[in-house]
């Protein structure tokens, strides 16, 4: 299976939110009542019933107002902290190298919520499940593009073979000039959602700067997890060797009581 990625070009996005709506529709995620917090960005962050949001940012200077739009969803890391953390295999690497989810297997433990460097997975207390974008696995498995890409009217979202997409991205960055750059392939083994950003990373609200698999997850799963069995096994072997080589500590035979070697039996 060829490795595909989703490419989002900030310079082509008009903030229409077609992608957000298409996502809700395809995944059957009716909206909940939200509050007006003075932004078009609604809801304010990803939620268990919103796998994808359009981030809206206004930047005003003396006589102009600038808009920044950012399509935010699961980044589908190649080296995914959530997959490492998931105790049941509910989160897994799909045959397309995206991070799939098997809802049946999810036990609502929230380990992935704490592990994700992008703060993507969200817990639904009603269902006791954690939910996130699965890159429309049922669609891509049938050679369709993800619902959000399908809905995009401007070509800001593209879905295609990884190398081709990255080539397009690099060319577009040259065209745009200035601070324009690609965000994604250089992190966590390469993300399967890549951005063409016109401005520096720090300009975008909520964008993670230099995201990594958290050290805590590495210490937990790569170091301590194997160490627990090694140390336990070492002690068991050591104890048996001790018994054979040094021998147990028996009560001395010359002390008053009968049957000393049998101790309390």
């Amino acid at each position: 299976m060829s490795e595909n990625i989703k490419l989002f070009d900030t310079s082509r996005c008009t903030g229409c939110r077609g992608c957000q709506l298409a996502c809700k529709q395809w995944n059957n995620l009716p909206a909940k009542q939200t509050v007006n917090w003075g932004s078009y960005q609604n809801p304010p962050t990803l939620q268990s019933n919103t796998y994808l949001i359009m981030r809206f940012q206004e930047k005003a200077d003396a006589n102009s107002v600038k808009w920044f739009f950012r399509h935010e969803a699961c980044m589908h890391c190649t080296d995914a902290a959530c997959v490492k953390a998931c105790p049941t295999g509910a989160l897994y690497y799909s045959e397309f190298k995206t991070v799939g989810k098997n809802i049946e297997k999810c036990i609502g433990c929230k380990d992935c919520v704490a592990a994700c460097p992008f703060e993507v997975p969200k817990y639904d207390s009603g269902a006791n499940k954690v939910l996130k974008c699965d890159m429309c696995e049922s669609r891509i498995a049938n050679k369709l593009e993800p619902a959000c890409v399908k809905a995009c009217p401007t070509g800001a979202l593209k879905w295609g073979e990884k190398e081709t997409m990255l080539k397009i991205a690099n060319e577009r960055v040259k065209e745009l000039g200035g601070d324009a750059h690609v965000y994604g392939p250089q992190y966590v083994g390469g993300t399967h959602l890549a951005y063409i950003l016109q401005e520096k990373d720090a300009v975008y609200a909520g964008l993670k700067i230099d995201p990594k698999v958290p050290l805590s997850v590495i210490a937990w799963k790569d170091w301590l997890k194997p160490l627990s069995l090694i140390a336990g096994g070492g002690v068991v072997v050591g104890s048996l060797l001790h018994y054979i080589l040094h021998g147990p500590k028996r009560p001395d035979a010359d002390v008053g009581q009968d049957n000393p070697a049998e101790g309390g039996k």
Binding site: G108, K110, V113, P214, W220, H246, P248, P260, G264
Partner: protein
């Protein structure tokens, strides 16, 4: 069954608390391993799935915390404080466990190794309880903080799991006769003389020693 002349080394409350602590701890090991290793996920099947296994783990954790508090209060006096110089001398010769020692220094009810085990259980147990509760209810806490609870919980497990086998060995075949201290509470005098000589002397001198088939001196004087 105790025989005439055997001595009482633990009371019923001590044994109940010990087995509450040990039982909850071992169940936590089993259910915890069922979550730590995907290969051991099948342990969940025995309990009706991994969701149930997680409930068993979390609620057993509560029982563990209660047992831990009881154990800490109960044994603090005997196992929480080192008594010098004999404990240091005992440690210098590793209690005679590792090489041949002519005369092992006489120590009280618990030897320094047992005291270290006790203190490790209390320390790591508290760590397990706190980190476990945060992971169970991570609401309102910063992500950076919650994240570190996982490796700390795993670190506590590494220590607990290793120490458990040391304890299991030393409490059973490594020290014949010892296991009865936690089963019916009766041991031979020879065992006590070997394992806890100073305690035996103190008990005999104070007349508190309970000997099977005899009345304690204290009781007799009433």
């Amino acid at each position: 069954m105790p025989e005439k002349g055997m001595i009482k080394v633990t009371d019923g409350f001590e044994r109940i608390v010990h087995w509450m602590l040990a039982g909850s701890c071992i169940l936590l090991f089993i259910t915890g391993l069922g979550m730590m290793y995907r290969e051991l996920n099948f342990i969940g099947n025995l309990m009706g799935g991994l969701v149930a296994l997680k409930y068993v783990h979390n609620f057993t954790g509560l029982l563990f915390i209660v047992s831990l508090v009881l154990a800490a209060r109960m044994w603090w006096h005997e196992a929480g404080k080192f008594s010098m110089p004999e404990d240091l001398e005992w440690m210098m010769c590793a209690g005679g466990y590792l090489w041949h020692v002519e005369k092992v220094p006489e120590i009280g009810k618990y030897n320094p190794g047992q005291k270290m085990f006790f203190l490790t259980v209390i320390g790591c147990g508290a760590l397990m309880g706190v980190t476990g509760l945060v992971m169970w209810f991570p609401v309102g806490l910063s992500l950076g903080f919650v994240r570190w609870m996982y490796p700390l919980h795993a670190l506590g497990f590494v220590v607990f799991f290793a120490f458990f086998f040391v304890h299991l060995y030393l409490g059973t075949i490594g020290n014949p006769g010892t296991v009865m201290a936690m089963i019916d509470g009766w041991a031979t005098k020879a065992w006590a003389k070997k394992q806890h000589p100073k305690w035996l002397k103190e008990m005999e001198e104070s007349g508190k020693l309970e000997v099977y088939g005899e009345e304690t001196k204290e009781a007799a004087s009433h």
